[in-house]
């Protein structure tokens, strides 16, 4: 059943997210090649009455690229949140809640799809930026091997690998927790009679405030207990900061998930 839910959810969200990604992939080489072309001596000196149209187009090309990059990263999130809201608590939610599937599976499938599209858009945006700067001769492939060799030479790499893994895990759980927080906000907020969107926004702000306050308290306690030790190096301090934060993220994510399942299963009001 999860497979079917994922198939239909990817189909629903994919048509506009894929379009954004395709636009970025197309815009990256076009704008970068144009900028390269426009900075050549011939074009740079090509003026009519002191006016160089190619320079204006260069600025437009940069703006188009930046806008595409922002669209993919920011608009993807906005569109996914909008889709989540519509499919859970508006009339389109009739179909979502009419399906004979457990509420938990509905939430899990939507969370997975949201996460995958966010990850894909992040990776595409990263590669786009790399390709853009590569075409503009900001870096070369040999720079990468040189940088890696310097890092290996000067840095105790095995010591930092757990840190990198921890960063990746924290990013994944952080992203999942955020998605589940949207769910919980809609699950609680939609109960506000006649104003489900306003209710959801209020629930989100309240959730963020509670989360922020508890995080601050826990990290302060953690710092007070451990960081004063004179034997700590930077990596230890990093762990002291990151591990409680990760544990909190997992706990909050679980709480948001349980709230969402409970509310949509037992308190649905659409």
């Amino acid at each position: 059943m999860l497979g079917k839910l994922l198939k239909h959810e990817f189909r629903t969200t994919g048509r506009y997210i894929a379009l954004l990604l395709i636009i970025l992939i197309a815009v990256t080489p076009l704008t970068a090649l144009y900028i390269n072309f426009s900075v050549s001596d011939t074009v740079e000196n090509f003026t009519i009455n002191g006016f160089n149209i190619f320079k204006i187009l260069r600025i437009i090309a940069i703006l188009v690229y930046v806008a595409s990059l922002i669209s993919v990263t920011a608009a993807t999130t906005v569109l996914l949140i909008y889709n989540l809201y519509k499919s859970m608590v508006t009339k389109q939610g009739y179909l979502t809640h009419m399906l004979p599937v457990p509420t938990s599976l509905t939430i899990i499938s939507k969370t997975i799809v949201f996460f995958v599209w966010k990850a894909v858009s992040f990776i595409v945006a990263l590669f786009s930026l790399l390709a853009f700067t590569y075409i503009l001769d900001v870096w070369e492939f040999k720079d990468i091997s040189y940088t890696i060799s310097r890092i290996i030479h000067y840095v105790n790499v095995p010591k930092y690998i757990p840190c990198i893994i921890l960063i990746v895990i924290s990013m994944i759980f952080g992203s999942l927790q955020k998605i589940l927080m949207y769910f919980a906000s809609f699950a609680v907020g939609h109960r506000m009679n006649g104003h489900p969107f306003l209710g959801s926004v209020i629930a989100y702000i309240a959730g963020s405030s509670i989360l922020g306050t508890i995080s601050l308290i826990v990290t302060s306690i953690s710092n007070a207990i451990f960081i004063d030790s004179p034997y700590l190096d930077l990596v230890d301090i990093y762990y002291i900061e990151m591990i409680p934060a990760l544990i909190l993220t997992i706990i909050f994510g679980t709480v948001f998930y349980l709230i969402s399942v409970y509310m949509f299963k037992n308190k649905l009001n659409i």
Partner: protein, 232 residues
Amino acid sequence: MAPLLECRSLTKKYGNVIALNNVSFTLERGRIVGLLGPNASGKTTLIKLINGLLTPTYGEILINGLRPGIESKLQVAYLPDTTYLNDWMSVKQLISLYSDFFSNFNVSKAYDMLKRLDLKDTMRIKAMSKGTKEKVQLILTMSRNADLYCLDEPIGGVDPASRDYILNTILNNYNENGSILISTHLISDIEQILDDVIMLQFGCLHTHKTVDEIREEKHMSVDELFREVFRC
């Protein structure tokens, strides 16, 4: 054997507004039941409660002895009074979605009904008129072999010729061991197919009788009774 649908002291409040107030009734199998009442009498609320889209403030609903949940969603086919489908979807994609999730969805029946309406499965919802959208929703609902069909205003937004088509579709395609609960204001159009009538007034159960009982006891049609009871 548990009744098909049982409502016990069902109450639903929206803030201070009472949409349904202590409604109790049972519904047996093989009946076509008209759910009648003026605007804001609680008809849609009752249907949404049966389908688990709302949760009761007090009371209980049992479908085949079960509370609204995964099992009941398979046994109840619901036609809302509004367009609820994603408008970018084609009829073919919707049929695929329904057949993926509802094991009692009959794909060939759906295509038969589409053919009779001369509708192409490649058509997208957003390209359809309001009446066509309603027909597609009806086809999706009636292609299920459900125990209970909850149809909320199925003929409300369509012309008289289409009403006949819709009523025929309902009559020819429902599971005869199941029941149909039809909510409508257009009583004269559906009176001839009804077995029972449930009338709601201000969220309370006003009448629950068979059509024959109404005719024998009151010497009037359901339409006439409705006009008398709810005269402004």
